[in-house]
Symmetry: D2
Subunit: 374 residues, 4 copies
Amino acid sequence: MPSTFGNALRVTVFGQSHSQAVGCVVEGLPSGHVVDTEALGRFMARRAPGQGPWTTPRKEADLPRIVSGLNPGGATCGAPLAVVIENTNTRSRDYDNLMAVPRPGHADYTAWAKWHGNQDVPGGGHFSGRLTAPLCAAGGIALQILAGHGVRVGAHLLSVADVRDEPLCALDNAPASRARLESQLDALADGRTFPTIDAAAGKAMLAAIDDARRELDSVGGVVECVATGMPAGVGSPMFDGIENLIARAAFGVPAVKGVEFGRGFEAARLRGSEDNDPYRMVDGAVTPVTNNAGGALGGITTGAPVLFRMALKPTSSISRPQESVDLTSGSDATLEVHGRHDPCVATRAVPVAEAICALALLDALLSFPPEPQA
Amino acid sequence: MPSTFGNALRVTVFGQSHSQAVGCVVEGLPSGHVVDTEALGRFMARRAPGQGPWTTPRKEADLPRIVSGLNPGGATCGAPLAVVIENTNTRSRDYDNLMAVPRPGHADYTAWAKWHGNQDVPGGGHFSGRLTAPLCAAGGIALQILAGHGVRVGAHLLSVADVRDEPLCALDNAPASRARLESQLDALADGRTFPTIDAAAGKAMLAAIDDARRELDSVGGVVECVATGMPAGVGSPMFDGIENLIARAAFGVPAVKGVEFGRGFEAARLRGSEDNDPYRMVDGAVTPVTNNAGGALGGITTGAPVLFRMALKPTSSISRPQESVDLTSGSDATLEVHGRHDPCVATRAVPVAEAICALALLDALLSFPPEPQA
Amino acid sequence: MPSTFGNALRVTVFGQSHSQAVGCVVEGLPSGHVVDTEALGRFMARRAPGQGPWTTPRKEADLPRIVSGLNPGGATCGAPLAVVIENTNTRSRDYDNLMAVPRPGHADYTAWAKWHGNQDVPGGGHFSGRLTAPLCAAGGIALQILAGHGVRVGAHLLSVADVRDEPLCALDNAPASRARLESQLDALADGRTFPTIDAAAGKAMLAAIDDARRELDSVGGVVECVATGMPAGVGSPMFDGIENLIARAAFGVPAVKGVEFGRGFEAARLRGSEDNDPYRMVDGAVTPVTNNAGGALGGITTGAPVLFRMALKPTSSISRPQESVDLTSGSDATLEVHGRHDPCVATRAVPVAEAICALALLDALLSFPPEPQA
Amino acid sequence: MPSTFGNALRVTVFGQSHSQAVGCVVEGLPSGHVVDTEALGRFMARRAPGQGPWTTPRKEADLPRIVSGLNPGGATCGAPLAVVIENTNTRSRDYDNLMAVPRPGHADYTAWAKWHGNQDVPGGGHFSGRLTAPLCAAGGIALQILAGHGVRVGAHLLSVADVRDEPLCALDNAPASRARLESQLDALADGRTFPTIDAAAGKAMLAAIDDARRELDSVGGVVECVATGMPAGVGSPMFDGIENLIARAAFGVPAVKGVEFGRGFEAARLRGSEDNDPYRMVDGAVTPVTNNAGGALGGITTGAPVLFRMALKPTSSISRPQESVDLTSGSDATLEVHGRHDPCVATRAVPVAEAICALALLDALLSFPPEPQA
């Protein structure tokens, strides 16, 4: 189903940019987890609009209301958990001219081709980045449950335009590297304003974003995400492996055009002797010495950090005039987009990457754990 | 389910490298399609082992037997179509030492961590590249049905190690470019030995592969695949869009570590004004002037060619000694892999990319077509 | 997934008896249907509590709020349609003693055995009959869409205790019988207070229910449901046939213990020559002369009315003292149930049967329609 | 998907009556189970044709070949297990006249309405009772795995026409009754020719079947099935409960027209005080004193035996002339069915009921077990 993903853990997302509400239903959460609503609010605030010059001025409380799935003690109770987030600040009028003239790079035209005018146009409807809010609500709860299993998830902006952050220290699985990675994750979780490891890189990214904004344009970026603490043996072969689950969810995030694991595309240039991760016994456990695989082989975790990157194209809604067509008259047209848009959607996609990573990994843990030993 | 994918069209793959047979069941094929078994055989021969110096010496007839799903006239009849391919040439003895010492980069260890010794070890079991044979059988039939809808799928080796082929002419959607793309597809379908557009690049790739083989090593590569003729409006938002369907299937192909669409990771460096594909009316139809999106926006086709690339890491089974562990004794060990292995799995992944593309697109056409107009 | 059913049309139900809200998400609705909210309200009122002496005194507005899935014109837009129904009148205190002492016949004990105390106890949690409200919201919309396809669904109380209503005239497919069936459906849709065809039977049922209530007891009943206007060729063999889809949904209605189609259990006593429905050409169309099959053969519609019955056990929550156990102390205990309960859940299950029938048939029409002819 | 069912355990059935082979793929079997192929053969022999005067003379070896899913030691290995059963004895000629004139009561006409002539007609194609052979292969393996968990499944013919066997002693959960039930199951498993508890009833049923056969007619019957040893807390609310899973599978068995659990339809005539199963502590465990519920409440097991009945209509293929139509000419026609058919399909449905019960319960145990206690 288009707006649903997962196996034993299943998330269904609903809502449009300007519908009464957006939200999600999460089935299959383990029972007994007391949701930390404050931590959830903090997590969701990281993707909320209106935080700085690099995001859209649309301000929303984005308060997720958990309307079902908890028992009187506030713990998950085995029933589907539903989250409703009201849409309080919508300005549909801004989108009036989009009814007929589709924005290049957006789903306006493809939605029209599919639904022949029945689609909900304002704000991009169900295709809006707004739909990542319920994804983050679901993912934020998954993050809390994973933390109880010793799994930690963190992401940062690896690049914006041509500016590049220091990478997460996750391709090398040596003890010292693991410590470095943990300190990177601590710093990212620390709440600093802009999600980079290297503050100077962050500053340069902000400048690049501001340049684009001032030129009525937008820029793309790459988000890198890691999960530590996943035990070996989780996942499955072929079509429901760790990579399949994460990739399917990641391509559900608006603007994502590429997903790679471990060395990713770079591995295509390597020799096997360079790319293979040797094993050693470390503290009595089988341990990959390096992590070029990104934490999974054959769809199943190796015990090393799960590492992936997702590429986001530049925001398609830009204010400069663009060539388009008028769907009503069937003639060429020029489009000027009004409304409020992030000049770089990658910035707000950082917590979204954590959310979908958490959902995919919790699903893997619940659906495809290591089998019980006889 | 791990070994199943698709919605209205569903493929379930079974078999292990050294089981009695491998095969697949395909549910949801439209009825009335007379399977061209000769064309199917030719398609499957493209991925069969033993074709040249760059592939494994294991020779298999790979004759797919369609044991159900056809009516007496040889046409699909609405019932599940099952394909059985016998495993006739297996040498399990080669794998005896792998029972205890997992190959770096392969799923040997992760399967052990999941199934505690119950997994089928010889030849990599269900994780073997052998399982791409039934995928190609299913995909080969999907290709025939798509051809009946005017959809054509073709792939080539874009790169091996640092050698790069000319790209498919699919990022530019101008009429001249479309013609150039068709001629590229014609040449690829022509049956030339090595699947590149530029013969010189192919020769250089073969040299690179041979270098690796002689050094008891392996190399990675990138496969690029395109589908032309998909109408606009096919697919769906969020988690079952064109990209999600293709990516989920692509990561089911052994050794794939990255998937990107259109400009892919490069889009992350662009401005919106560069990456957005403008629309123009061409011959009365809304037409994206360029195709940086790779044929899909919001998970739904634009009418431009669907274009993706998948990165394959180097073959993990290499003959040089590697550091590993002995799972029985729990101590460090050195591994020397015997058996027959391709030094570059990317070469045989070319028809596999076509197969999974065809399956994903036919599923999209059947599951998420444009809605009928009122 | 436990709380989800359907294929191309998928319904996910959320909520507990005493959670903030109950609701559902419906994916896959055809776009362009303007929801008639007034008609939806009337339909839902038929299952609402507090209507007469035979139902629970709990009164709820049961106003379904459609928070997503509609475009500005009030028509379905292709995005998931979400319904939220607030729980405004809950008296959790009534259930305090049920925390430890499970009600015989209810899911209290089995939920405890599954979730070890994390389950939401008040009002039966996710197992409450309250969850049929969102099912009716989804089903009410499906009924409207089916009506646009010429499909009509109606149900009545066939029996309560030993009192029996006149059956729907749907086992005989003769033109006169069809007319009689239509007039039965007209009468049932007419809004008469109690859903029987024969008013005298209704009166006797009410008396039987009142008897039970006065004796602090409850009674069971059978609901019979029919759908006319389904074209032949809809559905599929084996596990997603018309019967499978309806049965899976029907057993999701609390208290249902049996489901049968056409002659149902009676067919087990017949000869083939009695049970087979002969075909004749009627007005140029292949037509089953009788309808012992209940409108489906091999899981696929015959064109005759789809007919099923579902048996509901007596309400398990009764006020007389019952033998139970104290789960805390692990000792025998006597239970006296307080709270408000229908003495006969079958009465309110009549519109619920229509709802699940509509959802199952609309799913069948969207997922498994007759194939397009070449 | 039509020919697939299950969640964590998933069965896909393929084949037609006269295709090269029938078979199935089973995904999600626990690893490490050594398949007892002799026991599997004995189980499958119980449904094989040609056993006595009450079955079709078509004789088939029905030898299931397990072509994948086992490791070299013959144990399940985590990969999909595929079973292929060759169709060796097919006489398609018998069905020539059915191409145009559909058998009343069979799926001939509905398949034509769906696939417009592309369907595989001979022997009923994918709708044939032949497809229960792979179901029994899958179910026979599930039975072996369940036995390892202390779960035992058995079924008998409760009735044929108006002849009734003694019921299974499963509605009363007292210790003495449990012992009686076990002895009934022992006797049924003992291999006696005809699957009744009361030999005299079996004799009378055989006579009734022979009467029908001699009169070129057929009779229906009811199969009753029980599973003992299921722990409490297995299953889930709403649409994937024990009843939903079993019912969905049961309606996949050709000729099934009704399914009921515990008291079933009889419960609709009872009072709550009669139908509710009281709890008592027995040997330190919460125990339902009676089992009117049939072992499940709210879709979750109670710990009492799971008990269901399924009604099978009389075999539709009878030799007496019947009224039908000629689909080619669109005119009324008279049909005389040739070919070999059981006069009572219910007899061979006894092991099939066990098979689908085992598959549904193993799926429930794997998909929806009691949650691990904190």
